[in-house]
Amino acid sequence: MAKSNAKRKNKSEQNKADNKKGFKEKFTELLELPKELVLDRPKLTMIGRNDMMIENYKTVLEYGSGRLRVKTGSGILRITGDSLMIREISSEDIIISGTIHTLEFTDAG
């Protein structure tokens, strides 16, 4: 472990969130509650590769016609594509249209 302490700590926290299911998550699964609402996770809906809806996002980090980065509860979602357009945006959801090439989640920070 040559990595710095801070980074290790960060990583372990991330692992904890990913692998060990917390009480909150177990509880929501037990009661079959919508996870995106209770656990602050994004809900992605795609129709083909041209339309996409991201519900429960946090902020738009970057917007360009070839790339869109959105901060969500599950990390940063990076969308690349051609002539990307935000068809609708409100405080809860974004609707994107255009040709989508990739979707990628990266950890925040």
């Binding site: 360009g64 935000i86 068809r87 609708e88 945006i89 409100s90 405080s91």
Partner: protein, 398 residues
């Protein structure tokens, strides 16, 4: 579908297309989203230039957000109904006109403007119209005051000839459909004594009496009203006679004749092709001439056509467009081949005669003669028929 609804809704509410310029457009978008400023159709034009759409309300709240994000917001286009209204806000007459139009349409649509009567054969249309107007159904009547059910009841009571009537009010049109009752044939009840008399003139070809006494023989010429089978049978050795209900068939030869003059010259009227049209607008019964020409042809026929202003089939307004076309004509005379003319007249006479022949009669023969009377040649067609001419008539009655 959802998208279409969304667009219509946005058009009704009005929206603006704006250009946002700056380095931190994402920041601007985030602030807008957080402040409930609804944005859509965000399109990147180049690195620092983005077009988007927002509501009127959103646009008003946008200034502080733009300042915070360090972006410049420019208005590109205003779209939607509120802006259209805004443009016409000062035109009071326009709005008054629009309101007046709606009020007028509604007002006019609440009256009956036309009545359509169908299904009557013997009853005159005018007679039915009169009866309807007595119960409040006439052109110009207020629609909501008409009680079609009670009108139906009253019409049925009043006009004995009606078998059925339906009155439908649709739009500004009243549709009246009637069925006529057929008169009951006069039947003398079987226990009532009767004679059988002749309905019309003829020569008896066959007489079969089932009850009663034959009053005529085969080959006799009878006149209308003559007793054919008598219901009163004299009792032997007494002055009195026994009365019965006479029955039987009496077939007779009857004739139907029709004459049609033979026309040897044919006068034809030919349109020269010149036409003048007058147009006028009719409101209620008030006529406004729009186009009125002075010069008329010497010899012309006119055709009148009226167009009512209607919306669909049922909404008829009291506005009509009348066009009168005057066609110039000239008369051309031509001789017709005599044979053709004769044949035509004979055919016509035959058709006419055939119309007179009652149902159940058999056409036994036909005869065509041409009669020259002074200058007029006439075709006479005689149809010889065999039919039952018997008709019951109550003894002592009538």
């Amino acid at each position: 579908m959802k998208l279409l609804l969304f667009r219509v809704w946005n058009y009704l509410r009005g929206y603006v297309i704006i250009i946002v310029e700056g380095f931190f457009i994402e920041k601007f978008i985030n602030i807008c989203a957080r402040r409930n400023i609804f944005l859509w159709d965000i399109r990147m034009q180049n690195e620092r230039l983005v077009t988007m759409r927002t509501t009127i309300k959103g646009f008003k709240k946008m200034r502080p957000a733009a300042r915070k994000a360090g972006c410049k917001v420019r208005l590109l286009k205003k779209t939607g109904l509120p802006f259209v209204f805004n443009r016409y806000r000062r035109r009071k007459a326009f709005f008054a006109g629009a309101v007046l139009f709606i009020v007028l349409i509604n007002l006019l649509a609440s009256f009956v403007w036309s009545i359509e009567i169908t299904g009557n054969k013997e009853l005159q249309t005018e007679f039915i119209e009169d009866a309807l107007s007595r119960h409040g159904i006439k052109a110009g009547a207020f629609k909501y005051r008409i009680d079609t059910d009670s009108a139906v009841d009253k019409m049925m009571m009043e006009i004995g000839k009606l078998a059925w009537i339906s009155i439908n009010l649709k739009g500004t049109k009243v549709r009246v459909e009637v069925r006529e009752r057929r008169d009951l044939p006069q039947i003398v009840p079987r226990h009532v004594p009767c004679d059988i008399i002749a309905q019309k003139d003829g020569i008896i070809t066959q007489i079969v009496a089932k009850a009663g006494m034959e009053a005529v023989k085969e080959g006799d010429t009878v006149k209308k009203g003559q007793v054919l089978i008598s219901g009163s049978i004299p009792v032997k050795g007494s002055d009195k006679s026994r009365l019965v209900h006479a029955m039987g068939t009496v077939n007779a030869r009857t004739w139907y004749e029709e004459e049609v003059p033979v026309i040897l010259t044919k006068t034809e009227r030919i349109r020269t092709g010149k036409v003048i049209r007058d147009s006028s607008l009719i409101l209620f019964s008030w006529k406004l001439n729009i186009v009125r020409s002075k010069n008329r042809f010497k010899d012309y026929t006119s055709e009148e056509s009226r167009k009512k202003l209607t919306i669909g089939d049922n909404l008829v307004f009291p506005v009509e467009w009348e066009t009168i076309s005057y066609y110039e004509e000239k008369t051309v005379e031509a001789n017709i081949n005599e044979e053709d003319a004769k044949k035509k007249a004979a055919d016509e006479a035959y058709e006419k005669a055939l119309e007179q022949v009652p149902e159940g009669a058999i056409v036994a023969g036909e005869n065509v003669v041409f009669i020259q009377d002074n200058d007029v040649l006439t075709a006479r067609v005689t149809l010889e028929c065999i039919e039952d001419i018997g008709m019951s008539r109550q003894i002592g009655g009538n």
